[in-house]
Each structure stands twice: as structure tokens, then as C-alpha cells.
């Protein structure tokens, strides 16, 4: 057998342990996990090999491993693991390491990696939106809590769409898209096997593969079903959350189209706040309820995890926490507005903007990045097979 010299990166092992894989050293390579995994293929299954790479500090092996993304974290491996090495958590810790290091500026990744970075992550949008609010008081006769001409509470009075929310969020959104694009390219670079890649047979263009992944896997959550029938609740909750994002994104798109399009074609003009019985508003509130349901179910699931088998890392709680913050402040803003409580309404709406900005601006370094990176990995697998 050829001799392989291994240079363990101990710092990487420690980082992995901090990112949720603290039990990884307990692994004794029995390979139960690879069999327990319902989605691991017969050829080079996971997560046994990832466990030994992690243990030996083989950073590059793990970073370039596409299987990290094929894992959907059902936890079957952890349930059967004889040593309580928690392979499922190690896989997600390894993904967390990718979120942390994949894209620039990596300082955000560092802030995102523990609760210590939270104040600064919060302060950036908090100052930004406070600045916007302060500047806007100049347009509202120096009032911090102004009412519209007809006496209603209109959030746009302070956070005026055309000049504040829309440009800031567009820059944020397209900035995040650009960073994610670079991340995906970098990820593809990492996935590439050493040497030449020879593709035999017909290939489809990449966008057809994207279409296939979306239609066959994401829309149906097929991999979640493959994870086993006993994980149905997890699938339902994740689906609710996923579709609530789809609904709310659609509502946002409609409102944006109505607002900006309305400037050109007055017939489609749409202004907020919309009446409660307006179809788009009804859809938005349905989206909110789905969001709350999915969040509650996923949070309860995490709280009920037996730490002997699976635990939750900061990345898990950050993502759940930030979505909770967005959902609750969004819901309360609407409630206070309808109750005509002007001060709480604006304050809560301000926080809502802060949290929404955090959710999107930090997306490439947060666990929510899985939405893009995992999709990219699934597309890569369809394009090139698995190396």
C-alpha cells in the first residue's frame, strides 16, 4: 500500500469542534454511520470518511468534499453511532466551516461563527437604519413618529421606499447575490477532482440541471423523504418554512412591481399599507402564519434533541433566531400599526428592518447559505457525477 503522509491541521480540528463537532474525536471508525445513512451512495459513502478526515485535521479533504452537501442532516447516523461521536453534527460543523471561510470578506464569517460577533453584526444595520430614521425626521418636521396626512400610521413615512428601503435592500440583495455567486464558483473549484475531468455521454446545459434540481428535489423536498419516514415532521416543518419564504418573496416582488411598475403603468399601481382583505395582503399573512408554524416546529425539534446523539450549534440557533426575530417583529409591526400604537409600531418596524437586513446581508456566511451552496452541490453532482 502506498504510504501517505498526513499533516494534521490541529487548529482546524479545534475550529470544527467549536463549530458543532465537539464529539468527533470519539469516533472509532466502525462505519455504522455510512450504513445508517439512507442517502449515502454505495460508492464512497459518507459520513465515516469525513469523520476520519475531521479527526486527522485534513482540512482540504473536508472543504473540497461534495458529500457535505448531499447530507441532509436527518441524524440517523447519530442515532446508531455506538460512541456518541455525533457524525451528523460533525457534517454540519464542516458545512459551518465552509460558510465561514468560503467567501470574502472573511471577517464577517469570523463574526458569524460565535455569539461574540453578534453585537457587531447587529450594530451595523442598527446604525444604518437609525441614520435613515434620523435623516428622515428632517423630512417629517423633526418628528420621530410622524403620522400620514390622513392620520394613519404609514411606515413609508419614515422609511420611505424610493430613497431608503428599496435602494438599501437592492444593494444588499444584489451584493449578497454577487457574493453567493463567487461562493458557488469557488465551491465548484473545490469540488473539481485533481487531474482532468472527462465527461462521457450527452450533457445538459447547466440551467437545465438547475431546473431539474429545483423541480425534482427542492420543490418536493425529496431528500427529506429519503431520510426516512420517521423524519416526516422535520420535512413538513422545513417545507412550511421554505414555502413561507417563497410566498413572502412573491409578495415582496408583487409590491415592488406594483410600486415601481406603477410609476410607468398606473393600472398596476400598488401602495402600502395594503388593506387587510386585499389578496396580496391575505397572501402575505398566510405566508407569515406558515413561517411561524415552520419556525415553531423546527425550534421545538431542536430543543427536543437528545444531546447524546445530536446537538445544535451557534449556526443553527443564529438562523432560527434571526428568522424568529424577523417574523415576530414583522407580525408585531402590523399589529401595532392596526392598533394605532404609533411609537411601538415604528420602533418594532425599525427592528424589523434591522433583522431583515441581517438575514439577507449575512446570508452567504450563515447557515442560510445552504440554500444556495447545497443547491449548487446538487447541480454539480448532476453535471459531473460524484468524484
Amino acid at each position: 500500500m502506498a504510504q501517505v503522509k498526513i499533516t494534521p491541521d490541529m487548529e482546524f480540528v479545534r475550529e470544527l469542534q467549536c463549530a458543532g463537532g465537539e464529539s468527533l474525536k470519539k469516533c472509532f471508525q466502525c462505519a455504522t454511520c455510512s450504513v445508517a445513512c439512507p442517502v449515502a451512495p454505495a460508492n464512497n459513502p459518507y459520513p465515516r470518511k469525513e469523520m476520519v478526515w475531521a479527526s486527522w485535521g485534513l482540512k482540504e479533504k473536508l472543504r473540497t468534499d461534495i458529500d457535505l452537501w448531499l447530507c441532509h442532516n436527518c441524524g440517523n447516523c447519530a442515532d446508531l453511532c455506538p460512541r456518541g461521536a455525533r457524525p451528523a453534527d460533525m457534517m454540519s460543523a464542516a458545512r459551518n466551516m465552509v460558510y465561514k471561510d468560503l467567501t470574502q470578506p472573511s471577517i464577517i464569517g469570523k463574526w458569524m461563527s460565535s455569539a461574540k460577533g453578534l453585537p457587531i453584526l447587529f450594530a451595523i444595520p442598527a446604525i444604518l437604519w437609525m441614520l435613515v430614521w434620523w435623516i428622515r425626521t428632517g423630512f417629517n418636521d423633526g418628528q420621530w413618529f410622524p403620522r400620514a396626512a390622513d392620520g394613519r400610521i404609514v411606515f413609508g413615512q419614515v422609511f420611505y421606499g424610493d430613497y431608503t428601503i428599496d435602494p438599501i435592500f437592492m444593494i444588499t440583495f444584489f451584493g449578497a447575490c454577487f457574493i453567493l455567486y463567487r461562493g458557488v464558483m469557488r465551491l465548484f473549484e473545490l469540488f473539481k477532482p485533481e487531474g482532468k475531468l472527462l465527461i462521457i455521454g450527452k450533457t445538459k446545459p447547466w440551467f437545465m440541471h438547475v431546473y431539474d434540481v429545483i423541480v425534482e428535489e427542492i420543490i418536493t423536498h425529496k431528500k427529506f423523504s429519503d431520510c426516512g419516514e420517521d423524519k416526516e415532521n422535520r420535512k413538513t416543518a422545513h417545507m412550511a418554512l421554505f414555502y413561507s419564504f417563497v410566498v413572502l418573496a412573491f409578495v415582496t416582488a408583487v409590491v415592488a412591481a406594483g410600486h415601481w411598475g406603477g410609476k410607468v403603468i398606473p393600472a398596476i399601481k400598488l401602495e402600502t399599507p395594503m388593506p387587510l382583505i386585499f389578496p396580496v395582503k391575505i397572501l402575505a399573512n398566510i405566508g407569515m402564519l406558515m413561517l411561524l408554524f415552520g419556525l415553531a416546529a423546527l425550534t421545538l425539534r431542536r430543543m427536543k434533541l437528545n444531546p447524546k446523539y445530536q446537538a445544535s450549534s451557534f449556526y443553527d440557533w443564529y438562523l432560527l433566531g434571526i428568522i424568529w426575530a424577523v417574523a415576530v417583529t414583522g407580525m408585531l409591526s402590523q399589529c401595532f400599526r392596526l392598533m394605532d400604537a404609533i411609537k411601538p409600531a415604528f420602533v418594532v418596524y425599525y427592528f424589523h428592518l434591522v433583522f431583515v437586513w441581517m438575514l439577507f446581508a449575512y446570508l452567504p456566511w450563515s447557515k442560510l447559505g445552504h440554500f444556495v451552496y447545497r443547491t449548487a452541490a446538487l447541480v454539480y453532482v448532476r453535471m459531473y457525477g460524484r468524484s
Binding site: 472509532f28 466502525c30 462505519a31 455504522t32 454505495a42 459513502p45 446508531l80 455506538p82 460512541r83 456518541g84
Partner: protein
């Protein structure tokens, strides 16, 4: 004050402790739960280190007991109470009725004519036994046992007038006065029904290593012919699943020390009976303590035995009563799904005290192994203390006997 010694458990280490203490001049009482002495060793086909049949070592022990008037033993007996302190214990023993005459009556013909049957504990579920039975030819005591619960109505009529059978025999209670106690309560095979991913005992032809011993034993249900329990066919492809429920936090959280050697021994049984049969051993690590490594070298040299690193993590029923297992070959990084005629789960030893509690002040660890009690004059021997092979069990029996003797010496 008493210089007698109580030995709880009549398996190899208990017998050894009892005999050693008695031969040093102490009165010894053995309390054994089952109807016969010999314990788990009696169930083996052959045992290490010399691979002799159990009759070999046990016969000598039984002879020493027979010839030594200082040793008294109670079978179907349990310790139910203890009072006093070190050097001066009063032990209450409850004895279940045997329902047969105290001398060795040959019941073999009568037993064979009875209708009532029950699953044989001694054969680990591989066979039925009659209501009137003796577990094996060299059983000691050689007295038959009658299990009234297994009798049919016509059996009862048949037995009604028999002067050597007493269906109305009542349980007995005795009180013993002892100065020290040896606890040699031994072990039981880990219950495979807990191993949900390994078939939980419901997959045909997926047997435990102890069942394999019974199949290989000339006195077992197949008279020593190793065949599939479901159809009696000779297996051609056999797999051994090491660490079945061992070194596993969900089952036995320790290594039982003997299962690797047991598997190597059973590979030899199979290779002897079926020179062409293909045998695969799936393991995490192979543990062959001390000189036993030579056995591994020998088995590895046989052309039809192969070793694959990887723990079997899934066992299901295949077609034609075959057994399908799934394992990752961790060296090659390949997940294999393979079909075998027969699969042997190398289960570990669980101390008997893991579930059953003794009315003795002996502390046990979370797994049920005894971890103390010596200050009270109570000494653990054999697998009640830790997983051991027969040789080391005997040694620990001697050690416990010496300690017990020192406790009661001079009284």
C-alpha cells in the same frame, strides 16, 4: 461467627472458588439459580485455551465437588435475604421444587413419552425440551427436573402414580450461617432483541454466537452438525458480525473481550465441517489478547475465511431464508449489500446483575459489573466482575476464594 463460605453462582468461577475454599478446609455452600451446575461453560461446544469440550474441565470440578463433603450445593436456589455482618452472616435461600426423587433416577424413557414441551433455555431457543428434562449428558447433578407448567393433562395422568415424581413438592427455604460470600453470578448473552438494526432476533438464520455453540456441540439440538435453523441446510456462505451490541453506548458500552476469540473458534468449527464454505468476519478491531494472537494467524491462513473492517449496521431477511446485511468496507470505502446463508451475531457478555438485583450489599457500575463489597467480606469472581474467558474466570474464582478464606480464617 462462622468460617463457612457462601458462593452465589455455580458456574466456572463459582465452582472454582467453592472447591478451592473447601479444599482449604472451609465449609462451602453453592447457591445456583438454574437446575444444574456448570453455568455458561456447559453450553459451549469447545472452550479456550485448549479448545476442549466443556465436559473436560467441568467433569474434574464436578468430581472434586462429589468427593468433598465440605461442599454443599443448592440448585434452583436463590439468595433472598441477608442479615448480619462480615464474619457473621445469615443468608436466606429459597429453593424451588425439582419435583423428582433425590437420587439419580433414569427418567429418559418416561421423559420421551411425555407430550408437554417448552422452549429450551439451555439450547437458547434452538430446540424444545420435554417437561421432564436433563440439560445434557454430563449434567450435574444428574437428576432430572420436572417443569409442571409444561405438562399437559395426559402427562399429569401419566405421572400421577409415579413414586419418583412429586408434583406437590413445595418450595423450601434454608438459612445458612456464613462468614464470607463469593459472588459469581456470571453473565448472560446480550439480548439480541435490543439490536433493532441487526434484525432484533426476528431474522431467520441470523443467530447469536452462543446459539452457534449449541449448533456445534455434539450434545446440541443438531448433534453437532452446524446447519441453518430454518431448514437444516448446510450453510455455504457465513458472516460473523463482531461487536453486535458491544462497545456501543446504546447497548453494552464496553468490549466483552471474548467475542473475537469466540468468532475465530467458530470459524474453525465451520472450516472443519465445511472446508469449502466461505466465511467473512466483519469487525471494527480484532482483539486477540496475549498468546491468542496465534489463533488469529491460524484462522487468517485459511483460504476461505476473510476479514473485512467495518461494522455491520443493517440485517434483514433475504430471499429463501437467506440473510442480507449491509456494511461499509472501511478500507475500500464501499457500502456493501450482501446475502449470506447464515449470519452469526457476535454478541457480548452482560453481567447477570445488570437487571437482576441481589439482596447483598454489592455496588455495581452502570453496566452491572460488581465494583466493591470487599470491606463487607463479599468478593466478586468471574464475569460478575468483568468480562473474562474461562481460564481467567477460574483464576478470579481462586482469587476470590483466597480473599474469602482470609476473611473467615481463625474464627
Amino acid at each position: 461467627m462462622s468460617n463457612s463460605i457462601l458462593v452465589v453462582g455455580g458456574g466456572f468461577s463459582g465452582l472454582t472458588a467453592a472447591i478451592e475454599a473447601a479444599e482449604l478446609g472451609h465449609d462451602v455452600y453453592i447457591v445456583e439459580k438454574s437446575p444444574f451446575l456448570g453455568g455458561r461453560v456447559a453450553q459451549l461446544s469447545k472452550y479456550f485455551p485448549k479448545l476442549c469440550p466443556p465436559s473436560c474441565g467441568l467433569e474434574i470440578q464436578f468430581q472434586r465437588i462429589r468427593k468433598n463433603p465440605r461442599i454443599k450445593f443448592f440448585t434452583q436456589a436463590e439468595v433472598v435475604g441477608l442479615t448480619g455482618q462480615k464474619g457473621n452472616y445469615t443468608v436466606n435461600v429459597a429453593i424451588a421444587p425439582r419435583h423428582t426423587a433425590p437420587h439419580n433416577v433414569d427418567f429418559s424413557f418416561l421423559a420421551s413419552t411425555l407430550e408437554g414441551e417448552a422452549t429450551s433455555e439451555f439450547e437458547l431457543g434452538l430446540a424444545k425440551r420435554k417437561a421432564l428434562y436433563c440439560s445434557m449428558p454430563f449434567a450435574f447433578p444428574g437428576r432430572y427436573v420436572l417443569d409442571p407448567a409444561a405438562l399437559t393433562q395426559s402427562d399429569k395422568v401419566k405421572l400421577a402414580g409415579n413414586q419418583f415424581v412429586n408434583l406437590d413438592e413445595a418450595p423450601k427455604a434454608v438459612e445458612l450461617s456464613v462468614g464470607a460470600i463469593v459472588v459469581a453470578t456470571g453473565w448472560k448473552p446480550y439480548d439480541v432483541t435490543h439490536l433493532s438494526n441487526l434484525g432484533a432476533g426476528s431474522v431467520k438464520n441470523c443467530i447469536s454466537n452462543m446459539q452457534m455453540e449449541r449448533l456445534a456441540s455434539p450434545f446440541g439440538p443438531t448433534a453437532g452438525k452446524i446447519v441453518r435453523p430454518s431448514d437444516g441446510h448446510a450453510p455455504q456462505r457465513i458472516a460473523f458480525v463482531q461487536c453486535a451490541g458491544s462497545r456501543d453506548q446504546n447497548h453494552l458500552n464496553y468490549c466483552s473481550y471474548i467475542c473475537c476469540m469466540a468468532t475465530l473458534k467458530q470459524c474453525a468449527y465451520l472450516a472443519e465441517q465445511y472446508p469449502d464454505a466461505k466465511i467473512t468476519v466483519y469487525y471494527i478491531d480484532l482483539r486477540t489478547p496475549g498468546r491468542y494472537v496465534k489463533v488469529l494467524d491460524k484462522v487468517k491462513a485459511s483460504p476461505n475465511v476473510s476479514f473485512v473492517k467495518g461494522k455491520v449496521a443493517d440485517v434483514v431477511q433475504g430471499a429463501n431464508d437467506s440473510v442480507t446485511l449491509q456494511v461499509e468496507d472501511a478500507i475500500r470505502g464501499e457500502k456493501l449489500t450482501l446475502s449470506y446463508d447464515m449470519v452469526v451475531l457476535a454478541t457480548g457478555m452482560q453481567p447477570s446483575l445488570a437487571e437482576a438485583k441481589l439482596p447483598l450489599p454489592v455496588p455495581v457500575d452502570e453496566d452491572g459489573f460488581i465494583i466493591g463489597g470487599e470491606e463487607a467480606g463479599i468478593f466478586a469472581a468471574g464475569c460478575a466482575r468483568m468480562p473474562l474467558d474461562v481460564m481467567r474466570s477460574a483464576q478470579s474464582g481462586t482469587a476470590a476464594a483466597l480473599k474469602a478464606v482470609q476473611t473467615v480464617k481463625g474464627r
